[in-house]
């Protein structure tokens, strides 16, 4: 078998970032609820990212693990699979006090959220109409 060169994925495939159809199915097509959840997500994502940054800054790995856990649940519920996996890895790394990994994973999580947030905004704009 021919050896494939290792590829480093710079970007996750888009459809893995946010499975909106799965979310809509979960909430039984309730557009009002969708909007409510996304508004909550927009606020919560910022608050929780801030919390994780502070926790890393102060070396509070227990707090970091807790916040990462909350984010994992939130992201899973909203069918944001890739970011949820990163949050899960961050929860694990912080529980094991792996400082380097935690910082790296937080960076990854921030990037993933930065990709999702405009989509969420677009969806909110669309839902509002």
């Amino acid at each position: 078998m021919e050896k494939q060169p290792m590829e480093t994925a710079v970007e996750q495939p888009r459809q893995n970032d946010w499975d909106l159809n799965e979310l809509i199915e979960r909430i039984d097509g309730d557009q009002e609820l969708l909007r409510e959840l996304l508004v909550m997500f927009r606020e919560d994502a910022q608050i929780n990212l801030e919390k994780t940054r502070n926790a890393i800054g102060t070396g509070d790995y227990e707090g970091l693990s807790r916040t990462a856990h909350t984010m994992k649940g939130m992201l899973k519920n909203l069918s944001m699979g890739a970011a949820a996996e990163t949050a899960a890895a961050l929860e694990q790394a912080s529980r094991e006090n792996r400082q380097g990994d935690s910082g790296q994973l937080l960076g990854k999580l921030v990037k993933e959220l930065e990709r999702i947030l405009p989509e969420v905004e677009a969806q909110l704009a669309g839902v509002r109409l």
Binding site: I27, D30, M40, D44, H69, G73, K76, N77
Partner: protein, 322 residues
């Protein structure tokens, strides 16, 4: 049906609330384990609960342990919700007293199906409790009159006499017997006899305070124990019971039947050195005296008669009826 949702993450909580409301549940939401406990120990608490594993204050597993520790309550069906998926976690969750386990994000159909299982368990529990209560009633009450049965009334009365001794108060023991009951049965039949027994029981029961005790002692014999009874008013209270029966005829299948009762009264405060059995015997002797004095009257056992009066001494019981 009402259900408790305990979840700290607002998005998960909102999702659960809406899903459950749509499925017809009345949802009570809380944000941590301490609040969950506070809701679940209320008198009218929901019997179904969805608990997130990781929550501030007290986590879901601790909530399960605490609820199971309090066994006096009706059963609560507890489902743990978590993003933890390892076998070890599942086992730890169930060992803590959870009935079931769901991983997040939940699948709506699975959630509903698992809640239906919860309903079935709760219904089963209700039936069992109902059956147990019914058996407990049957084991402690007289089938015909629904009064305490002989064993229970004797036990309750013994406790009461012991307590009145400790507290230096008085328990009035009344042995009541329907006069000429055999002739009621002979004349009108056993069905009418049963009606008479039921009505006498009802009148006796309704004529005493809620914390007094009335039991069926034997065929047509009833035992009444009045707690914390003022010895001076005991006779008039016995008179009142007698009057409640003699005062108006009993309606039995359209046919009014007049009956009377005789009462032998013994006051525990007059027999401080006697055993419960001896006090019962004194009440029995007084009843015998009441029968001898023409029935439909009250006689009081006298301590001067000695601890063990004989049947040949009815004259020594005080005649109180005019």
């Amino acid at each position: 049906m009402r259900i408790l949702v305990a979840e700290d993450d607002v998005i998960s909580r909102t999702l659960l609330e809406r899903t459950l409301q749509r499925a017809g549940y009345a949802v009570i939401s809380v944000e941590n384990g301490a609040q969950a406990i506070a809701e679940l120990v209320k008198h009218d608490a929901p019997r179904l609960a969805l608990l997130d594993w990781i929550m501030p204050e007290m986590d879901g597993v601790e909530v399960c342990r605490e609820i199971r520790r309090r066994k006096e309550q009706a059963y609560t069906y507890l489902i743990l919700l978590s993003s933890r998926e390892s076998k070890g976690d599942i086992v730890a969750g169930l060992e803590s007293g959870a009935d079931d386990y769901l991983t997040k994000p939940f699948n709506v159909d699975e959630l509903k199906a698992r809640l239906r299982t919860g309903h079935r368990i709760l219904e089963l529990e209700d039936h069992l409790v109902e059956a147990r209560e019914s058996m407990r009633f049957q084991a402690t009450h007289d089938l015909l009159t629904s009064l305490w049965n002989r064993g229970v009334i004797l036990e309750l009365m013994s406790h009461e006499i012991m307590r009145s001794r400790r507290e230096r108060s008085c328990t009035a023991v009344m042995m009541c017997d329907i006069d000429h009951f055999k002739s009621v049965n002979d004349q009108f039949g056993h069905a009418v006899g049963d009606d008479v027994l039921r009505e006498v029981a009802r009148r006796l029961h309704n004529s005493v305070r809620s914390y007094d005790m009335v039991g069926r002692y034997g065929g047509e014999e009833f035992l009444v124990a009045l707690n914390k009874c003022n010895p001076e008013s005991a006779v008039s209270r016995a008179e009142n019971l007698r009057e409640k029966i003699a005062g108006r005829p009993i309606q039995t299948g359209g046919k009014p039947v007049s009956v009377t009762i005789s009462i032998g009264l013994a006051l525990s405060s007059e027999f401080t050195q006697s055993t419960v059995e001896e006090i019962m015997h004194q009440a029995d002797m007084a009843l015998y005296a009441a029968k001898g004095a023409g029935r439909n009257c009250v006689r009081v056992a006298q301590p001067s008669a000695g601890a063990k009066p004989t049947e040949e001494q009815p004259k020594e019981t005080q005649v109180l009826m005019p």
